[in-house]
């Protein structure tokens, strides 16, 4: 069964990323941004009959029910999506599947990350603690990676970058170009964290090396934020008589949790996910007008360009050198600035690739609108190249 053209994103809401929140609750942020997305779609609360939400620490159990109650919803489909940075795209995949299967008609997908300043009482608490919000992590990652300082994500992407350079080679300037193009885009997006702060390739290469070979400006800055979308049936979307972003293709792929055990460091799970989405949509790579690609690091973008099929393996660097990645260029990439320059608000940062792709397809991207935007490709990436979710969105069903 294919999901092609059976549902569409019709409502979008997003908070401007901020360095810190002050006393906000994740629940409150999840609900507010969901409410805004429902209002953006022009729906009443009673028209929502499905919800996808990420796990969050404040609700270690029954996260979907908690937010359903808070928002005054009454749903047939309540889903927690635990795919890290791929959760946003993965929520839309699940919403589209549920709608297509007749389980429900209109699903709100919501993500939020709060971020309090560190206090004297101790280190900040993680705002999002993954599936069921469990804080006690006891998995092979904590047993076999953490004792060696293999903690967080920086080290893993650095090892991917070093292996890629060993197998295929890529110039540091090429990776830096990704960050520079996205900063250009962010300078056309007043909501971006780094609006008004252009950078050059020299700035990237002169920024401190954090984990060899990754420079500071190739690494996302964690922020607080929230993003939500409303997905509804194509039937209902067409009645709205306003632009919608139809879900034409969807895919997913998960192979590992720890990068230690990834089948390959240089050919990622993105390949399976993107291939599935493109096959379902029935369109070619060159039909894509905007690529909304998860960009926790510059190397992530390079690997996605290759594994999603825009360039052959090992040719991603040449592809980046040969194309203009700005929103007004010949391969528009992350017009909102990407998470590198828009800000990475946990799963909401991943969702920003969905909201931006939908905005572009709907023609609502204002000063950074990609011209003649018919098709968008979205990729969400969770963990260290662990969870992948891909979408093809289109202006028509």
């Amino acid at each position: 069964m294919s999901l092609r053209g059976k549902s569409a994103i019709v409502g979008i809401a997003e908070f401007k990323p901020m360095r810190y929140t002050e006393g906000a609750t994740t629940l409150g942020m999840l609900a507010e941004v969901a409410r805004d997305a429902i209002a953006d779609a022009g729906f009443e609360l009673g028209e929502i009959d499905g919800i996808c939400v990420e796990g969050f620490a404040e609700a270690p159990f029954e996260a979907p029910a908690t937010i359903v109650e808070y928002l005054g919803l009454d749903v047939k489909f309540a889903e927690i999506v635990d795919l890290g940075g791929a959760s946003g795209a993965g929520m839309v995949v699940r919403a589209a599947a549920a709608i297509s299967a007749g389980l429900c008609e209109t699903v709100v997908c919501t993500t939020a990350t709060r971020r309090e300043r560190r206090t004297t009482e101790g280190p900040k608490r993680s705002a999002s603690a993954g599936f069921s919000g469990r804080r006690v992590d006891r998995t092979p990652v904590t047993e076999f990676d953490a004792p060696y300082g293999a903690i967080g994500a920086n080290y893993g992407y650095a090892m991917i970058a070093n292996r890629y350079m060993y197998e295929y080679g890529v110039k540091p300037e090429t990776l830096a170009k990704i960050a520079v193009a996205q900063r250009y885009n962010a300078c056309h997006n007043p909501d971006a964290l780094f609006f008004g702060q252009p950078i050059t390739i020299e700035d990237v290469l002169n920024s401190p090396v954090i984990v060899d070979p990754l420079h500071l400006l190739e690494i996302v800055m964690p922020v607080a934020g929230a993003a939500a979308v409303v997905v509804t049936s194509a039937r209902k979307a067409k009645k709205l008589k306003k632009p919608a972003a139809y879900v034409l293709g969807a895919g997913g792929h998960t192979t590992h949790r720890s990068i230690t055990f990834a089948p390959s460091l240089t050919t990622t799970a993105i390949k399976g996910s993107a291939d599935q989405a493109f096959a379902m949509a029935g369109i070619r790579r060159r039909d894509i007008d905007v690529a909304s690609i998860y960009d926790c690091y510059t190397i992530t973008v390079l690997l996605t360009i290759e594994d999603a099929g825009f360039a052959k393996k090992g040719r991603g660097g040449a592809f980046i050198d040969e194309h203009n990645l700005q929103f007004d260029g010949d391969f528009p990439l992350n017009p909102h600035g990407g998470q590198l320059s828009f800000g990475q608000a946990g799963a909401a940062g991943g969702m920003s690739h969905v909201t931006e792709a939908a905005r572009q397809v709907m023609g609502r991207a204002r000063g950074r609108q990609v011209k003649k935007c018919e098709f968008a490709f979205v990729n969400g990436n969770g963990g260290i190249m662990s969870d992948q979710a891909s979408l093809i969105l289109g202006r028509n069903s």
């Binding site: 280190p123 006891r138 092979p140 904590t142 047993e143 076999f144 990676d145 953490a146 004792p147 060696y148 300082g149 293999a150 903690i151 967080g152 920086n154 080290y155 650095a158 090892m159 991917i160 070093n162 292996r163 060993y166 401190p208 090396v209 954090i210 984990v211 060899d212 070979p213 720890s258 990068i259 230690t260 055990f261 460091l265």
Partner: protein
């Protein structure tokens, strides 16, 4: 940690980094590490070696796993030099090397590269297991370059 095996912790300088909590399936691995031996599991059905230790085989549903002693030899599959700490407990250790080691038997494992010139670390470099007794109860398996 970068240049030499760390001195064992003392009451005045307790070990503050995260420690493994062995699970039922992995306890033989950690017990062997304390004896400065490297154990891996091997699939009876396919002959493939496995790391990390598991209670079920990831190769087939009708497979069984057996423990075997590994050579301790391998090569650097990839690595990074942390110029800034990856977690606060490593704040005094920078720079240090985190690497994925490809063991001679096939499996990958993450460890630190110790007793080595960090500027000389290269992918493909031959390494051998070395054992860091970080607490009286826990020994971590690390790797150092093979002397040439």
């Amino acid at each position: 940690m970068s240049d030499e095996t760390p001195a064992p912790p003392t009451a005045a300088r307790p070990y503050k980094k995260p420690l493994p909590e062995p699970m039922t399936a992995s306890r033989p691995f950690w017990d062997a590490a304390r004896e400065h031996r490297l154990l891996l599991q091997r699939s009876r059905k396919t002959g493939k070696y496995l790391f990390y230790p598991r209670g079920v085989s990831p190769f087939a549903t009708d497979d069984e796993l057996e423990w075997v002693e590994a050579s301790g030899r391998g090569t650097v599959y990839s690595y990074t030099l942390a110029r800034r700490p990856t977690a606060p407990q490593w704040g005094d250790d920078c720079p240090y090397a985190i690497a994925i080691i490809e063991l001679e038997e096939g499996p990958h494992m993450t460890a630190n590269l110790v007793d080595c010139d960090l500027d000389a670390v290269k992918i493909g470099m031959p390494v051998v297991a070395t054992y860091s007794d970080v607490t009286p109860e826990v020994t971590l398996v690390n790797f150092r370059p093979v002397a040439t």
